[in-house]
Symmetry: C2
Subunit: 384 residues, 2 copies
């Protein structure tokens, strides 16, 4: 197929072990053997979410889970507070509006993190806000939002707390129960390093209470059906799930368990730190404020005189390293390095060596080796 090194913020590289699990025989999706797989997979996801609540596997992208988080609690006219500081924050707002809700937006400058006090103020101003959405890791800007601090504030209000951890779960601190999160969603193809196509969602009792009292408009993503079928004997999904992808996710989650969630998060933090250090060593500029920069994706300003097409094109075609570009109004202004999933110093050294060569070739003044050295310098004092 293609040996390009994926350094994009998802889908991430999937190991042969997980790919192999995916190619097992298809079984009946309503059999005991599959029910066991499904339950184990959901339970492992709940462990990573750090919640005692049940999680549900959806066949669809992370966006399907974001939609599920909204449509199950929404009636036309309901007010949802959307914190918007990037493409995915915007997506929550768009979903609310697509289904007839009223999106009240807190606009955050792209590259900055949300300010928990702004959320407090908005909730004080309007007591009819039914839920607040926050994107933990804004993949489009490389910003990590303070979901723990926002959770502390939301504890004093009735509004549900909905968090998108699609590109953070497994690569950054997430504590659903500890942060008072009511609905949390994630995807298979980011830090969990499974193939794309599955998403997961978990709901608190408060969230279920709202779901049960909402005249919602949904069918494929009707979570009440997932709750019901997950308790059947054998447990199943309401509609045929992507059986092979469940095998793969199951195996990928076993890998997370074997590595240990804390170790995995530390590995992501270290990769992010090394990436930032290498970027600075090369004389490039981070796009987000460094103190809120994500542990799973680093956004970098394109240096003057270098176009996105040249930089990413050379990286891809000559050095077989795939980076991501900017999205929406950041197109052509930033590029993004994903360091999520199975990323170690090896992939970063490859990436930065290629980046140095690419920059030199494109006429940007760079001293060869300084990026690679910064990676090594960051990893060296650590116990690998």
């Amino acid at each position: 197929m293609d040996e390009t090194l994926l350094m994009i913020p998802g889908p991430t590289r999937v190991t042969p072990r997980v790919l192999k699990a995916m190619s097992e025989n298809i079984v009946n999706h309503r059999s005991a053997i599959f029910g066991k797989f499904l339950t184990e997979t959901s339970e492992m996801i709940s462990d990573i979410f750090r919640t005692t609540n049940k999680s549900y596997i959806l066949t669809g992208s992370g966006t399907a889970a974001m939609e599920a988080a909204i449509v199950n609690i929404l009636e036309p006219g309901d007010k949802i507070l959307n914190v918007v500081g990037g493409k995915f924050g915007e997506r929550f707002s768009n979903i609310v509006e697509a289904f007839g809700g009223e999106s009240k937006r807190i606009e955050v400058e792209w590259g900055k993190a949300a300010n928990p006090n702004d959320i407090k103020e908005a909730l004080e101003e309007d007591e009819n806000i039914k839920a607040v959405t926050v994107v933990h890791n804004e993949t489009s800007t490389g910003v990590a939002n303070p979901i723990k601090e926002i959770g502390k504030i939301l504890d004093d209000y009735d509004a549900l707390y909905i968090v998108d951890t699609v590109s953070s779960l497994g690569g950054a601190e997430v504590d659903v129960d500890g942060y008072n999160i009511d609905i949390c969603v994630t995807g298979s193809q980011k830090c969990l390093a499974a193939p794309p196509g599955l998403a997961a969602i978990t709901l608190s009792d408060d969230a279920w209470n709202v779901v049960d009292n909402t005249n919602s408009r949904c069918y494929y993503l009707d979570l009440k059906k997932y709750r019901k079928t997950s308790s059947m004997e054998p447990p199943e999904t309401p509609y045929t799930p992507a059986v092979s992808l469940v095998y793969a996710l199951h195996e990928a989650l076993k890998v997370v368990k074997e590595e240990g969630l804390e170790n995995r998060i530390k590995r992501h933090e270290l990769a992010a730190e090394a990436t930032r250090n290498a970027i600075k060593a090369l004389g490039l500029e981070l796009f987000p404020d460094e103190e809120v920069s994500s542990t799973t994706v680093t956004a970098v300003k394109l240096p003057e005189g270098v176009t996105d097409a040249e930089l990413r094109g050379t990286m891809r075609n000559k050095y077989h390293v795939e980076l991501a570009g900017g999205q929406d109004h950041l197109k052509g202004k930033i590029f993004r390095i994903g360091h999520m999933g199975n990323i170690t110093h090896r992939e970063l050294i490859t990436t930065f060596s290629a980046l140095e060569m690419t920059l030199r070739e494109l006429g940007f003044d760079v001293e060869m080796g300084v990026g690679v050295a910064a990676i090594a310098d960051t990893y060296l004092p650590q116990k690998l």
Copy 2:
């Protein structure tokens, strides 16, 4: 994993060739190489649909595609005529109601086929019907509905013609353009013999015209976004697709092409005929009227004195052949034999030998070998 022979109406057995394709490296879903895969897959689906219209691949089950067919053309209060003669006909009706539409139902006794004249009458009675839904192959009852004849009638009316070919496409005659079908949906895991998790949908110009003039409530399944991104360079999907499953479906569709669609349909027809002959030889009774019995799944009445749990449990646990039970009010009254996808006389002979032994064991008077002989007798005069 599990070597049980899947004789259920989907998911069906997937060949090692297709499983192998699925385990290729994950690539960037917005890359040229994936765009090529996506376009080729969509084009092969359009060929099998027999339409010159574009098809779109959705990450989700067949139900997601059924929902997409409805929500993109529906505003609250819109009237949709749903032909309901089984669980999947019912599903279309439920989706219409879930999204605030008015479902006008033509009830067809389960086990019978829809009568095209009933649809004509309903359309004559009410000129505000926006669309008519028909399930081609009603998986729950084993009935094939006359979608060609219904299409002839619908040609005289403005209502859109929506057809579910989830469990028929690739195993029964479907001619989207020839039958005047406006929206046709299918799934990956039935006669196309790819793993579950993908669905496909195609729309006529008339359907697109309605979509473009409908203030629809949808997001993940908003087909306008799929149309837009499919024309980008490189072509892509609006949200991260199940990349590995697209590889698998691409390979499975190549297999369909190599076999030849006509040959594949004939193979399904022959398997269905052999199955019916064997059922009758064993002294069992078909559930649907024989002349409308499906080419991809055969529904059989449970013989008196034999329970579903005993019959399917013995088949599964002792002989490793998985059959399907009845759904909804047919639970415990029928069992179903799926013969879709890669099914040949070999699998049928195994199945019927196991069924003979199971029936004998459960005290049903059966002459050993007569079912297997009926299979052979059906295949023997054919050029295999």
